[in-house]
C-alpha cells in the first residue's frame, strides 16, 4: 500500500500476464501510450495456467490489495488448452475466497489478446478503481509483512 500526497489510498495490484497474448497486449497498450495506473505491476508467465493459487495467496500475504490474471481468450491459447484449465481453477479458487469472506472484487480473470492494448489499459483502469473502493486488503494479509 502506498499513500501519496493527497492521501488517497493507492492499492498495490499484481497482474499475472501470459506471455503470448496478455503480456503482448500490455506491450501494445504501452506502444499506443495508453495510460493505466502505476499501481499495476505485471509478472510474466508463459501461460495463465502456470499461475498457481499459491502465487495469488502469496501476493495477498505480502500486501497486494488486488490480483488480476490475464490470459489468451478461450480457444486462442498458445498451448491450446491452458486457459481452459486456468478458468476452472480460478473460478473455484475465487469462489472459495468469496466463501471465506474475502472481498470478491480483489480478484479477477480477464482475457486479453495481443491485439487488445486498449482493452488491457481499460481493464487495468477499471480494476484499479474497483480495488480502490475496497480499501486496503486486511482480510488476507499477513501482519508480519505489513510495512511499518
Amino acid at each position: 500500500m502506498q499513500v501519496n500526497e493527497n492521501k488517497e489510498f493507492q492499492p498495490l495490484i499484481v497482474a499475472f500476464c501470459c506471455n503470448w497474448c496478455s503480456y503482448a497486449g500490455a506491450d501494445l497498450a504501452g506502444t499506443n501510450r495508453l495510460n493505466y495506473p502505476d499501481n499495476i505491476k505485471i509478472i510474466r508467465v508463459p501461460c495463465s495456467c502456470r499461475v498457481n493459487p499459491m502465487f495469488i495467496l502469496r501476493a495477498f500475504q505480502r500486501g497486494a490489495d488486488g490480483v488480476i490474471l490475464c490470459g489468451c481468450h478461450p480457444g486462442d491459447c498458445h498451448y491450446t488448452s491452458g486457459n481452459y484449465f486456468t478458468r476452472r481453477r480460478m473460478t473455484l479458487l475465487f469462489s472459495m475466497l468469496d466463501f471465506l469472506g474475502i472481498e470478491r472484487d480483489r480478484t479477477r480473470v480477464e482475457w486479453v489478446s495481443a491485439a487488445e492494448g486498449a482493452k488491457f489499459a481499460a481493464t487495468m483502469n477499471e480494476f484499479t478503481e474497483a480495488v480502490k473502493k475496497l480499501g486496503p486488503n486486511r482480510r488476507l494479509e499477513d501482519l508480519r509483512c505489513r510495512k511499518q
Partner: protein, 663 residues
C-alpha cells in the same frame, strides 16, 4: 554468492524522458547480490551490448538484469550477447520499463519508483535462475501417413517429392478413400476417378512411398522426430508379392453374393475380391467373414485357379514396427448413420438414398453402369427430392451441431448432372441455407438454379412416406412462400452429415493429440497453425480436422506435407529448455499432470527408489520428455505435491517476483 549486473537502458528518451534511469541504476545497485549497475543510451546497440559483455567478463557476473523494452523485443538479443561473453543465456532477465512503465506513465517520480520495483523483481528472479541448456533430439527421416484417401495420398506424394521415405497406412484393401467412390467433382464436373487414379498409381510407383493397405496403426510410442509405430497388417490370405491382380479368383469364387461395400451394397462381390478395377495395390483380398474355405475348410477354388500360388489360407495378422520422424493423420470422414431418421424413411424405402449412394448409382462403374435407376424397381426416376442438412446443424443429440460444408455443393452437382442427362426429371432441393463460399462455387450453384432449373425451396422436409403405388410422398414446408407442400417423388436423396472416421478417437489417444467433442482433431492454433496438432510432430490432413471438400483437402494435405518436410529436413531439433521437470522423490504418480498436458509430454515409469526408511520400493513417477514439452506449466499447478516445476518460470522464481513487487 551471486554477482549480478544491472543494465538500465535510456532507449533514447523513450525511457529516460519519464523514468529517472540514473536513480533506477543507483537503487538497483543497492540490491543484494548486485555488484554492478549501469545505465546507457541504447543498451541494444552494438556498444550497449558490448557494455554488457564486458561487464560479464570483467566482474565475472553470474546473472544479468536488463531494464529496457519488452522481453518480447530484445530478450533474445541480450541472451545472445550474454552467451557470447560466456554467460549462460538463461541467466539473463529483462525488466520491462518501457512498454509497461515509461510509455504509460507521465509522472516521473512514480514511473521511476515503478521502474525500480520492476527492476527489483527481475533481480529477485535472476537470483534463482539456473543455467539451462537447450537439448537436441535426432529426427528419423521417415514419415507416416495414416489414411490413404486423397488427403493421405497427396501428403505422401509431396513428402516423397522432397526425397523422404513415407509410409501410408490404409485400413481398406486399397487406397483411394471416399474420392474413389465419387462420380464427378464440383465445380468443374470432371470425373473423380480420372483425376484420382493417376495419383494412386503415382503413389504406388514412387520409390519413396510404401503402402500398407489393409493395415492399421496399433500402437504409437515416442515423440517428435522419434516415433515408434506398430502397424498391424491384417491377414488378407493372399500373398501381396505374388498376386498379379489378374482377377481370375474373383470370377471363380463360388461365394459371390457378398454385398459390395464399394458400391454401397447395391450389387455383390465375391468373397475373394479386388474392391474396384483401379485399386492400388491391385491385389486380391479374401474376406474371412464369407470365405467358405476359411469358415468351413471346404472349397479352395481360388487357390486352385491362382496360377502364381498367391493364395495363403494360413496367413496371419502381422505386426511391423517402424520408426518415424513425423506423423500425418488423414483418417477422413464417413456419412453418419441415418437409422435415427425415421421421418425420412431411409430404412423403410430403398428409393430413399444418401448422396454417397447416389454417387454410385450414377457412376459409370457403378451397379447400373451409369444409368440412374431407382434401386427398388430399376425404373427411371422422374421426380427427385434432395433433402439438405440431414443431421447437420442440428441442435439435438441426433445429429451434429456443425455444418458439413460439402453438401450444398455436391447436391448442386447432383441436381445439375441429373438435369443434364435426364432433362425430363424434375429436381427439388430443400435447404435451410445454401452455402457456397469458394472459388467458382456460387457461380456453379447459380447455374443449377438458372440454367438447369433445379427447384430450390427454402424449408425443411417434415416427413417422407413411401406409398403403395411406389411413389414417395414428401411433405415439406416452403418457408418463403409460407406453405405446406406435398411432392410425389420417385426418389429422395438425403445429404447426410459427415463425421470423422470411428478409428480417429482411439488413434488420437495413441497419438496423445486433442480432439473436439465431435471427434475432429484439434489443430495447434485455429488460425495460425491449422495443419499441426498441438502435439509436436503430428500433422493433420483433410477431413479428420473438420469437414472439407476436395480442393481444400488437397491444399491442406500439401500444407501438412510442407510442415512435415520442414521437420524431416532437420537432422535434430533443438528443444526449448524452459520445460517442465518432475522431482521424482516427490512425485506420487497420481497422473494429474499427464491429464492436463496438451502435448502428451508426460509419461509414467516404474522406478526403483531407496526410500527414506532405507527400504527399496518401486514407485510410479512422472517423466517429462523435454523434446515434446512446450513449457506451458499446466502440469505444475495440477501437481498437488509441487513435484512438477518449470524451468525458467519456477515456483520459487515467480514467488520471488511476487515478493519483490509486494515488498
Amino acid at each position: 554468492m551471486q554477482r549480478i549486473g544491472v543494465f538500465v537502458c535510456h532507449c533514447g528518451t523513450n525511457i529516460a524522458a519519464t523514468v529517472d534511469v540514473k536513480a533506477v541504476a543507483e537503487a538497483l545497485g543497492h540490491e543484494p547480490g548486485v555488484i554492478v549497475s549501469q545505465d546507457y543510451q541504447y543498451m541494444c546497440s552494438e556498444s550497449g551490448q558490448n557494455l554488457v559483455k564486458n561487464a560479464i567478463k570483467e566482474h565475472n557476473l553470474t546473472g544479468v538484469v536488463v531494464c529496457s523494452c519488452s522481453p518480447r523485443m530484445h530478450e533474445n538479443t541480450f541472451r545472445k550477447a550474454a552467451a557470447s561473453a560466456g554467460l549462460n543465456p538463461y541467466l539473463v532477465e529483462i525488466a520491462n520499463i518501457r512498454e509497461q512503465c515509461s510509455w504509460i506513465h507521465k509522472d516521473i517520480a512514480s514511473a521511476t519508483e515503478k521502474a525500480i520495483i520492476l527492476g527489483k523483481a527481475a533481480v529477485a528472479k535472476v537470483h534463482l535462475n539456473a543455467p539451462l541448456t537447450a537439448g537436441e533430439s535426432p529426427v528419423v527421416k521417415r514419415a507416416l501417413v495414416i489414411g490413404g484417401g486423397i488427403a493421405g495420398i497427396q501428403t505422401a506424394l509431396d513428402i516423397a517429392e522432397a526425397g523422404f521415405d513415407v509410409d501410408i497406412v490404409e485400413k481398406q484393401p486399397t487406397i483411394g478413400g471416399k474420392m474413389a467412390q465419387i462420380d464427378k467433382t464440383f465445380p468443374t464436373l470432371d470425373c473423380a476417378a480420372c483425376i484420382l487414379t493417376p495419383k494412386m498409381v503415382e503413389a504406388s510407383q514412387n520409390e519413396h512411398i510404401t503402402i500398407h493397405s489393409y493395415s492399421e496403426v496399433s500402437d504409437v510410442k515416442g515423440f517428435v522426430g522419434n516415433f515408434t509405430v506398430t502397424i498391424k497388417k491384417k491377414a488378407r490370405f493372399v500373398d501381396e508379392t505374388k498376386c498379379t491382380g489378374c482377377g481370375l479368383c474373383t470370377e471363380k469364387c463360388p461365394m459371390n453374393k457378398v454385398p459390395n461395400e464399394f458400391n454401397m451394397g447395391f450389387d455383390n462381390r465375391s468373397a475373394v475380391y479386388i474392391p474396384f478395377a483401379q485399386a492400388v495395390p491391385k491385389v486380391a483380398t479374401i474376406d474371412p467373414n464369407y470365405c467358405m474355405m476359411l469358415k468351413t475348410g471346404k472349397c479352395g477354388v481360388c487357390s486352385k485357379v491362382c496360377s502364381v500360388g498367391a493364395i495363403d489360407y494360413k496367413q496371419e495378422d502381422k505386426l511391423i514396427e517402424q520408426k518415424y520422424g513425423a506423423i500425418v493423420v488423414a483418417t477422413g470422414f464417413n456419412p453418419i448413420n441415418l437409422d435415427k431418421y425415421d421421418e425420412f424413411a431411409y430404412n423403410q424405402c430403398p428409393d430413399v438414398v444418401t448422396s454417397l449412394e447416389l454417387e454410385r448409382l450414377m457412376n459409370a462403374a457403378g451397379p447400373n453402369g451409369g444409368t440412374l435407376l431407382r434401386p427398388s424397381d430399376k425404373t427411371h426416376p422422374h421426380k427427385i427430392v434432395f433433402v439438405q442438412c440431414v443431421g447437420s446443424r442440428c441442435d439435438d443429440s441426433k445429429g451434429k451441431p456443425y455444418c458439413s460444408k460439402i453438401c450444398c455443393m455436391y447436391t448442386a452437382k447432383h441436381a445439375m448432372l441429373i438435369r443434364e442427362k435426364y432433362p425430363d426429371t424434375e429436381v427439388y432441393v430443400f435447404y435451410i441455407d445454401v452455402r457456397t463460399p469458394g472459388k467458382n462455387f456460387d457461380e456453379f450453384y447459380r447455374r443449377a438454379v438458372e440454367q438447369y432449373n433445379v427447384h430450390y425451396i427454402k424449408g425443411m422436409v417434415g416427413k417422407v412416406t413411401p406409398r403403395s403405388d411406389g411413389k414417395i410422398d414428401v411433405q415439406a414446408s416452403d418457408l418463403l412462400a409460407n406453405e405446406q407442400l406435398h411432392i410425389d417423388a420417385d426418389m429422395v436423396v438425403l445429404a447426410a452429415a459427415i463425421e470423422p472416421d470411428k478409428t480417429a478417437r482411439p488413434l488420437a489417444t495413441m497419438l496423445t493429440t486433442q480432439m473436439d467433442t465431435n471427434d475432429f482433431f484439434t489443430e495447434a492454433h485455429p488460425k495460425l497453425r491449422p495443419v499441426e496438432s498441438a502435439t509436436a510432430g503430428i500433422f493433420l490432413s483433410g477431413a479428420c480436422q473438420g469437414p472439407k471438400d476436395i480442393p481444400e483437402t488437397v491444399a491442406q494435405a500439401s500444407a501438412a506435407a510442407a510442415k512435415a518436410i520442414g521437420l524431416l529436413v532437420k537432422n535434430s531439433i533443438t528443444c526449448n529448455p524452459c520445460v517442465a521437470h518432475s522431482d521424482e522423490l516427490m512425485c506420487n504418480g497420481c497422473s494429474s499432470c499427464e491429464k492436463v498436458c496438451p502435448y502428451g509430454a508426460i509419461t509414467y515409469i516404474d522406478k526403483e527408489f531407496k526410500m527414506p526408511d532405507r527400504t527399496v520400493a518401486i514407485r510410479r513417477v512422472a517423466s517429462v520428455n523435454p523434446a515434446v514439452c512446450q513449457g506451458c506449466g499446466a502440469c505444475t499447478v495440477a501437481c498437488p505435491s509441487g513435484a512438477m516445476d518449470l524451468n525458467g518460470f519456477s515456483n520459487s522464481q515467480i514467488i520471488a517476483e511476487v515478493d519483490a513487487i509486494c515488498k
